[in-house]
Amino acid sequence: MSDHIVPVRVYWSVFITLLVMTVVTTSIAYIDLGPFNLLVAMTIAVFKATLVVLFFMHIKYSTNLTKAIVISGFVFLLVMVFFTMCDLLTRNITAPGR
């Protein structure tokens, strides 16, 4: 494990940013942006998750092996979503008899 000690002010900045982002994403839910509601909500969620992984979970200060394991976890999640949606989105085109 990394012996790097993260300064407390880094935790505080991350913490404040996470709280602000929660207020922002909740407020935007009251405004109708059409399809952009989903885009904005997910962008903010990914941003928050990245902050937690990098600083609270110390990945910014971890070894390359640990980083590779973390990235592989999320990459394979995206692989699953990508290929499942490739299937679901093209069924109407390829299903026989349609």
Partner: protein
Amino acid sequence: MWTFLVTEIMFFGGMFMAYIAYRHAYPLAFAAASQKLNIILGAINTTVLICSSMTMAMAVHSAALGKKNLLILFLIATLLLGGVFLGIKGVEYHDKWVHHEVPGPNFEFEGADAQHAALYFSLYFGLTGLHASHMIIGAVILIILIVKASKNQFSAHWYTPVEMFGLYWHFVDIVWIFLFPLLYLIDPRK
């Protein structure tokens, strides 16, 4: 520990995939059903969980510096915030129960597509239930850590259990960071 968390990503990932597939298939029913959730309670719970992640990060920080009393204090704070989260979740579940929004024989929905609104609520209970069970397991481990810390079993040289549990707790926080917009913020509020 990270290898375990990667398996957890896949564990939750399967349910997230089911959610994405069905939301894609029945967007209107999902949007209508999501209006039934209490966005304020959801936002409060997001805040509570972020606070508990902060106290957990401070607990690991205190452990690394060998500050035993601060470590115990922050672990207890994390446990209390986790309890608040589960309490609010319990209130929300109770609301769903009272309003016949739990899928099953007593399910009632006034929208156009009640069948698929029930599907949304099944996924809601599945995803938040899986998340809440992780919180309950986390709370049990927190109690064990508090006992061990008070018996001086951790030092600045060795606090691996605290650090590992911190990763677990932050992971559970990340799951909620995605659950909140996906379940509560689907459809603009009217």
